[in-house]
Symmetry: C2
């Protein structure tokens, strides 16, 4: 089907999806979860085609693994949908209804965004996850997944649509764009009037392309050049634990630490201890001159270049810079960060507050690992992505980020004078 | 100065502006107000140059009037700034701080957006207004006004900067782009990393250009193809008063009524009475066949064409369509509206609720004029524009729309397992 026709159908049904009650949405989500389990053979068969193509195209092992659908992963997808059933439905709540002097009652009602476009890469589980969150908030979702997962995504969407239709809900609540050409992706980015918002989920390249080309409003997610500043007053053991956790607990995620700033007064004591702990995990340290002077000729230490300060390695690498003050640390962070997550380890009250106040990022921590920036860790029970922009939503996005508001006004004949 | 250099300076000072206390900001706003009065001769002199150029270029009288700065208008600008002083400063409030099971305290702090770009047309008073609202919320503003008002805008900005510097506040809190070429405007739309958000203020053409070209997040404001649906159960006098008010109280504003839908059962009684009232104001009625059958050969009635349903006339014209039900009215509105303001006049409870629920717009009214969609009428005490998009802000935007949030997290050594 042509893209315009898909988007037209999505727009056509959005009012019906928005009007579903929480009960209807929850029943449908449970039915979809059951259907995924029931049709698991179809899903694994379709996935086998994608895996075969992936191997033919010499896809790296890591990506092949992300592409693979096992029975266990299908159960996880179903379980994810069941969890969404348990979350509170934000749609329909009326916020702050107030009476104006002329008698007008003006309130703000929470409503779905409408049609949400999601452009994503490899992992087929995003298909079910994104549907679950968008549907729970009364939105229609138009998905444009990667070519590599086209059979898997098609089978998952077919399952979901089958379950929806059995409950009398328009199957166009989820639309899959099967033409995975770049041209069609570009077209999708210009579907103003049909698609209300676009959320790219994937690597920095995908996100940049969407931000640069979309004329539809975009929620930018993702890249994280996250820093930890270890202040002179920090508890060294706490600082070691936090830096090692933020760097190595999971590599390749956007809330991992990519750069360490350390106060010069404690560098001589702290850095060698850190180097030993990071060496256990084969982490390469890209250090400035002062840090190298302290670390000597450890084999995993190499000189940092200017380009290192702006890098999101997503790898067993960390850049290290010594600074003379919290002010210098903040200035460095505000220059090089991507607005994701930043932490200070300190026992100094004023510097902790200063860091919280002045660092410009979605999440700013005192004495904790940056790895907590996550919808589940923040208690939202779900996550559609982590926004690094300042409009609409900033930081981990749960169900609320998939809603808008409208003013509802009750009058009794008021006219303007 | 080059655009990039202007944006760099804006970014450079944004942290200092964000850190100003409410008291410092209010003092500065009062000082700016005084300075505008004190320098009124300079302002009127600069404005005289713009007016002279305008006359040379045969600018229409209406635009010349919008461009004109009189002593009274300068006093109004100053008064506008003083009113902003009285508004609550939303910056710094921490919303919903909660303790997670692992002991992390996670709260959401209201912060400035950072650097706000505003692209606007003719009226020089926007320069002071936009500064006042952006500054009160701790933002830096980069202004790109129209060529026609370049001298007036320059003089106003010079006044503001003089007052800021006298109080030790960086004058780059307000930056004016003096190169009014189209190329520079386009460049501004691509200043990602420097400008956090772009707000176009002006006609439909300007807004469309910004939405189509900007890679920075945009808040779309403005165009309003607003409808009023008069239900069969409506009080006819109330309906007459509301439609006449919404159409004729002020022409050329985005919350004026452009299209009337009337239930076929009351068309024969209601439309002739309406026609008489609208004829007093020389309003042309572009009516569908059923409405024309009722209105006969009144001289101000002409046949509506398909294109009329989507038109924002901003003029003494209204399109009129008869419908058979509230459902038909809602479907028509959701097809042709611009997401601005829509009203139903009815005495039927279920239809009122249905209309509020199902019409997709920033503001939906029962029994009131659409003309109330306005930051002042809504009680915000200010307005930077009316958002017709669903992200970030929808409807009239006050100070809150010029802020974002960041998560602040207090830990005591938490790491992720």
């Amino acid at each position: 089907m042509e893209l315009l026709e898909i988007c037209r159908q999505a727009k056509e049904v959005k009012q019906r999806i928005a009007a579903l009650s929480t009960g209807q949405k929850n029943d449908a989500l449970l039915a979809v979860a059951d259907k995924l389990i029931k049709r698991r053979d179809r899903l694994t068969e379709a996935n086998a085609l994608d895996m075969e193509n992936g191997r033919k195209n010499r896809m790296p092992e890591g990506l092949l693994d992300r592409l693979l659908l096992t029975d266990h992963r299908i159960e996880q997808m179903a379980e994810g949908l069941r969890q969404v059933v348990g979350l509170e439905d934000p749609v329909g709540e009326v916020l702050s209804m107030k009476k104006r002097p002329n008698g007008l009652m003006i309130g703000q009602k929470r409503v779905p965004l409408g049609v949400i476009g999601i452009i994503y890469e490899s992992r087929p589980n995003v298909t079910a996850d994104a549907f679950g969150l968008c549907f729970k908030t009364g939105n229609v979702v138009v998905l444009r997944g990667g070519k590599d997962a086209i059979h898997s995504n098609g089978a998952i969407v077919a399952c979901i649509q089958e379950a929806l239709e059995e409950r009398g809900i328009p199957k166009e609540a989820i639309c899959l764009i099967t033409d995975t050409s770049r041209e069609t992706a570009r077209e999708l980015m210009h579907m103003n009037g049909y698609v209300d918002v676009l959320i790219p989920r994937g690597g920095a390249g995908l996100i940049r392309t969407v931000v640069e080309h979309a004329t539809i409003p975009v929620i930018e997610t993702g890249t994280g050049n996250c820093h930890i500043y270890v202040d002179e007053s920090a508890d060294p053991d706490m600082a070691l634990a936090i830096v090692c956790n933020a760097k190595t607990q999971r590599i390749g995620v956007c809330n991992a630490c990519e750069s360490l700033l350390v106060h010069e007064k404690i560098a001589a004591g702290f850095l060698p201890a850190l180097e030993r702990k990071l060496a256990e995990k084969q982490v390469e340290i890209r250090a400035d001159e002062a840090a190298r002077a302290v670390l000597g000729d450890a084999s995993n230490v190499v000189p940092a270049e200017e380009a290192d300060w702006g890098k999101e390695y997503l790898d067993y690498k960390i850049s290290v810079k010594t600074v003379g003050s919290v002010e210098e640390a903040i200035a460095h962070i505000n220059r090089y960060n991507t607005g994701h997550s930043e932490a200070i380890v300190t026992n100094d009250y004023a510097r902790a507050q200063k860091f919280l106040d002045e660092v410009d990022a979605a999440a700013v921590y005192v004495n904790a690992s940056t790895r907590f920036t996550d919808g589940f860790e923040f208690g939202f029970g779900a996550e559609i992505g982590i926004s690094t922009q300042k409009l609409h939503a900033r930081g981990p996005m749960g169900l609320l980020a998939l809603t808008s508001t409208k003013y509802v006004i009750y009058g009794n004949g008021q006219v303007r004078e």
